[in-house]
């Protein structure tokens, strides 16, 4: 890892190559990513990502905090969409304790998670545009994300780090005027997406910049452990919401978009379609939610101090970026013996060299934005 990457490439051409340090402080390195690139002119000969600049010992913190205290820490993994992180962790502990979460709480979780998915995809697509020089769609999308954050804020007061839910369910019901707010928000979300599509999808420059850039075969993607939109862009129809349903996802009717070539354009396209599918899921979930009696329980009966029985569990869900899993091992006390997080972009980022090799510096930037590598969950 710490070897000079130049020494690992063709020795004879050493004099012609330049090592460029992209990051950790660079406008396109979202957060604190660092890529040591060896370039021949602008062509990338080798790109070695170095991670760890945002390491905060999240997993170790999990061993020193009680089960409930750890929920706010999970907010800080993928900070673009904190809610799926919270729910994934809660689901793991619930699985370990054998708790059955009430249906109403599950529906609230689905609604909130899908809102978070839309917010996450909006940021990702917007930033991809910014990194390719198209600045304007970013604002159309980010304004709608703010509106989604308004809903979060008004649910429990937090916008970014939501600390959503509790082990065993959720702490609060959806506020009364959710329906009204959602009815207002939905057309705006669709309009923002439509405008983004108009500005980008069939734009000749956009197509030239994205189609065929950092294309990846489905076999390679599976071998590297890709999940989420990046895997689906390669043409593999894998989505935990469909394949291993949780939170009543098996009761909703939605499509899983897949791409063909696994290039930047397909990743962009898959995310755009997924936003639309998420809107559909929210509609269906809210319909089911309305049918629930008003006094239905929001939380299963859980002890005040959470002490799961000794044992270990792995539970994962489909976060906006891919499979987000939590491994929890308990020794029967009120603190976890070990918590291990499987962030989706850690696996994806491993293949970075294969993804960008042979491309140009500008392609590297497009690739890193389209993968949606979030330093928070990458370094933990």
């Amino acid at each position: 890892m710490n070897q000079d990457p130049v020494s690992q490439v063709d020795q004879e051409r050493l004099g012609e190559l330049v090592t460029i340090n992209i990051g950790p402080s660079h406008p396109a390195m979202h957060g604190t990513l660092r890529v040591i690139t060896v370039t021949d002119g602008e062509t990338i000969v080798k790109a070695e990502p170095e991670i760890g600049y945002l390491h905060r010992g999240v997993e170790k913190l999990g061993e020193n905090l009680t089960y409930h205290q750890f929920i706010p820490i999970t907010d800080r993994l993928n900070y673009c969409s904190a809610i799926p992180n919270n729910v994934s962790y809660e689901m793991a502990v619930e699985k370990l304790m054998g708790i059955e979460v009430p249906e109403k709480a599950q529906l609230i979780r689905v609604i909130m998670m899908e809102l978070a998915r839309i917010a996450d995809h909006e940021v990702c697509v917007g930033i991809l545009g910014v990194d390719l020089g198209a600045f304007t769609p970013f604002f159309y999308l980010i304004i709608q994300r703010e509106e989604i954050y308004e809903i979060f804020e008004w649910y429990n007061g937090a916008r970014l780090t939501n600390t959503f839910g509790r082990i065993g369910g959720v702490d609060a019901d959806l506020p009364d005027d959710f329906e009204e707010r959602w009815r207002e928000l939905k057309p705006n979300l669709r309009k923002a997406n439509e405008e983004t599509e108009k500005l980008l999808t069939h734009n000749r420059i956009w197509m030239d910049r994205t189609i065929g850039v950092s294309a990846f075969s489905p076999e390679d993607a599976l071998n590297w452990g890709f999940t989420g939109p990046c895997l689906r862009a390669c043409g593999v129809k894998r989505d935990l919401r469909k394949d291993e349903p949780y939170c009543m996802y098996d009761q909703f009717d939605f499509n899983i978009p897949v791409g063909e070539h696994g290039d930047v354009f397909d990743r962009y396209k898959v995310r755009m379609i997924e936003m639309e599918e998420s809107i559909k899921i929210i509609d269906q979930a809210y319909k089911l939610y309305k049918e629930m009696p008003a006094d239905a329980p929001l939380k299963a009966r859980v002890p005040k101090v959470i002490k799961p029985p000794a044992g270990e569990v792995y539970s994962a869900l489909e976060s906006p970026n891919g499979e987000l899993g939590f491994f929890v091992r308990s020794d029967g006390s009120d603190k976890a013996y070990r918590i291990r997080i499987r962030p989706p972009c850690y696996m994806i980022y491993q293949a970075f060299n294969d993804l960008v090799k042979g491309g140009m510096v500008a392609d590297l930037i497009a690739c890193i934005s389209s993968l949606n590598v979030v330093a928070g969950e990458l370094d933990r």
Binding site: P27, G129, A134, R209, I365
Partner: protein, 346 residues
């Protein structure tokens, strides 16, 4: 008045005027961007934030100048100067109106009507790229060097079609003098089309428009400074007013290029079908012709802003591909057709 006094007045006037437009342009750019992006933009300094450029200027002037440790001192200082000066100098031969009669003396609204004005503009215009390359090289920063190199790659891709497109205009109007070309665009041809360059050279106009976006380093050709890829390209290491010169030079360049488009392709101070100069006195016509010209210029300046916030950026090899595979063959074709047409109609 002596001839040289008039010349000095004209120089000072056009210098201040271009500076003023460029300053307002920085405000238009930011407010225009904000308008397109559903936000407000600078609106605190003065009415509608109009004094924002002033505040920016004061800020840049009072900032400390930092010279990177291993920078080449001479090239470093030369860069911004070489970038900003040509933009102003090019205006020496660009007309800014028809003529005005003051005190019985006819004054042409142009600093100098040289008979090779065309070549001068081309030569001066391509000088600015040295500012970018030297600044990028002198900074001793890898991102800056990449920016400078991209700029040279861009230059050899757009400069040729730019020259060829302009050559066709010279064919049509038979003169290298910008004033002669502007004057020749009065009236109509074929009975209904205005005698403007854009109608006589439609393909040449498109090629020229593409090329000037590249010359001005604007989206989609802003590769030399591509802020998301190579930080800020050639001006990564610059700060203070040296950065200001780069940023401001870009806007001065925009004004020059937009004026050239209007003078060459959009009938300069002429309005189609009507000859207003007949209805106005010599003094008021001078002023009106000046205003008409800059109204047209304003449209093209706005177009620059519009395009910038609409489309993404090319990749470096795609710009070269566009230049060599599309623009140059088309420009040669345009030149051939123009020559053929002139030969046949003569």
């Amino acid at each position: 008045m002596e001839g040289w006094v008039i010349a000095i007045i004209k120089v000072v006037f056009i210098w201040v005027w271009v500076l003023l437009i460029a300053t307002v342009m920085t405000w238009v750019e930011r407010r225009g961007a904000a308008m397109m992006q559903d936000r407000l933009g600078p609106n605190r300094a003065g009415p509608f934030g109009l004094f924002q450029p002033l505040a920016d200027g004061i800020k840049l002037f009072t900032k400390e100048e930092v010279l990177p440790k291993k920078a080449h001192k001479v090239l470093w200082n030369l860069g911004p100067l070489l970038f900003a000066l040509p933009a102003f100098s090019a205006y020496a031969v660009v007309p800014f109106g028809d003529k005005i009669i003051l005190g019985g003396k006819e004054i042409i609204l142009q600093v100098s009507d040289v008979n090779i004005g065309f070549l001068y503009v081309l030569a001066i215009g391509s000088l600015a790229v040295y500012g970018i390359v030297l600044g990028g090289w002198g900074s001793n920063n890898k991102f800056s060097i990449l920016g400078g190199l991209r700029s040279t790659a861009q230059l050899i891709s757009y400069e040729v079609p730019l020259g060829l497109a302009l050559l066709a205009v010279v064919f049509v109007y038979g003169s290298f003098s910008l004033r002669d070309i502007a004057l020749a665009q009065q009236g109509t041809f074929l009975g209904f089309l205005p005698n403007w360059g854009v109608f006589k050279q439609p393909l040449g106009f498109i090629l020229y428009m593409v090329a000037i976006y590249a010359e001005a380093n604007r989206v989609p050709f802003d590769l030399p400074e591509a802020e998301s890829e190579i930080v800020a390209g050639y001006h990564t290491e610059y700060g203070s007013m040296e950065l200001g010169l780069y940023l401001f030079g870009e806007y001065v360049n925009l004004v020059t290029l937009s004026t050239l488009v209007v003078v060459l392709y959009f009938g300069a101070w002429h309005i189609p079908y009507i000859d207003i100069s007949k209805f106005l006195g010599p003094v008021s016509w001078g002023i009106v012709s000046f205003l008409i010209l800059y109204l047209k210029v304003a449209f093209f300046l706005w177009l620059f802003v519009w395009v910038r916030w609409t489309i993404p950026r090319f990749r470096y090899d795609q710009v070269m591909g566009l230049g060599w595979k599309a623009l140059i063959p088309l420009a040669l074709f345009n030149l051939f057709i123009t020559a053929l047409f002139i030969q046949l109609s003569a």
